[in-house]
Symmetry: C2
Subunit: 228 residues, 2 copies
Amino acid sequence: MKLYYDLMSQPSRAVYIFMKTTKIPFEDCKVDLRNGEHFADEYAEINPFRLVPVIDDGGFKLTESVAILRYLSRKYNVADHWYPKDLKVQARVDEYLEWQHLNTRINCAMYFQHKFLRPKMFGTKVNEKQVEQFFNRMETTLEQFETIWLKNNKPFLCGDQISIADVLAACELEQPSMAGYDVYEGRPLLAAWYKRVKDILNPHYNEGHKVVQTVREKFGGVVPAAKL
Amino acid sequence: MKLYYDLMSQPSRAVYIFMKTTKIPFEDCKVDLRNGEHFADEYAEINPFRLVPVIDDGGFKLTESVAILRYLSRKYNVADHWYPKDLKVQARVDEYLEWQHLNTRINCAMYFQHKFLRPKMFGTKVNEKQVEQFFNRMETTLEQFETIWLKNNKPFLCGDQISIADVLAACELEQPSMAGYDVYEGRPLLAAWYKRVKDILNPHYNEGHKVVQTVREKFGGVVPAAKL
């Protein structure tokens, strides 16, 4: 089993941390996005969409982090709570996994890209109006975490135990911290959830976020929920 | 089993057509989006995100069309090809289902909304520059259908047989037709795929698209792949 990834990519981190935590062995195939390795001719054979992460299971190449997390859970028969086999409990996990694409994923990523990544990469000025728009969308998503997903003091997003939904969400919510925004500030339910998730995923969670931490230190980011 | 839906919503149509085709009985709960029924107080109890479709299976409410299609496939044990139980074949279907959110879904919907829906609803002028941006993204997605998903003359998106991925994709690709754009024009592989999918899903496919056809006729839309 090969894993192609870059730890600057939040879905890559989710798959990496999940595999480390559940002790799924893999061959380490780093793809340096900053050096454009995903645009090399050879990489089209691995992923024609030129994204990470990708797994290659003896020639069976699979893209899309959510599909990968499901595949790994089933293939390695990991502890049931990660991706429950029960019809309804699984559907609840699926519900978050599908919801997040056009909410957590796009909103946090767009805020990060427009506030931080694009200006840094291309030397362009921050378009404050556009950033504000993405910020507001991200705020709506964060409010929905507290008022819908974690409603009634649910310990995890989809039930009483941690699932792949929590892993994916936590990694995504790290992204704005590099741009100086702590999503957990003033959101006690979300912050308590974050601590629970990290406690279960560590030491791999922190290890998988070393590069994120380096970027935060270098560019004036914030450590999320530092006061917890 | 109740189904809350509006046939103007493409994921609603996918679930509706799937249930009709696989003969899953449901109680018909129409939600009129144009009249804002999804913003009524009662609807927050059905879906706090105020979207359609939603199923209610004896009190178990589930949102997100992709999660719903998976749930229905498993609960009713429909013919295997719709959502295959084999690990790798299922992963291929999952791969499209996850990919489509930030590609087919968002790009076709944004083009439709900015070219057609918002100007019609709010009486605003079409922002041609923005429409062009969304059009170009949609074109990239459509090219990826032909060069990646349907590569090597694959009859369906994820293999030799129709799956829920094809149902979802076909319904999404109807949306631009209401804004006057035929996604199948000049794309023979995609057009042949569309015909195969419709042949299997009819008469329910056409029935589920009656309201789309009415909008096309009223506002100068085009019938997709009419020359086929």
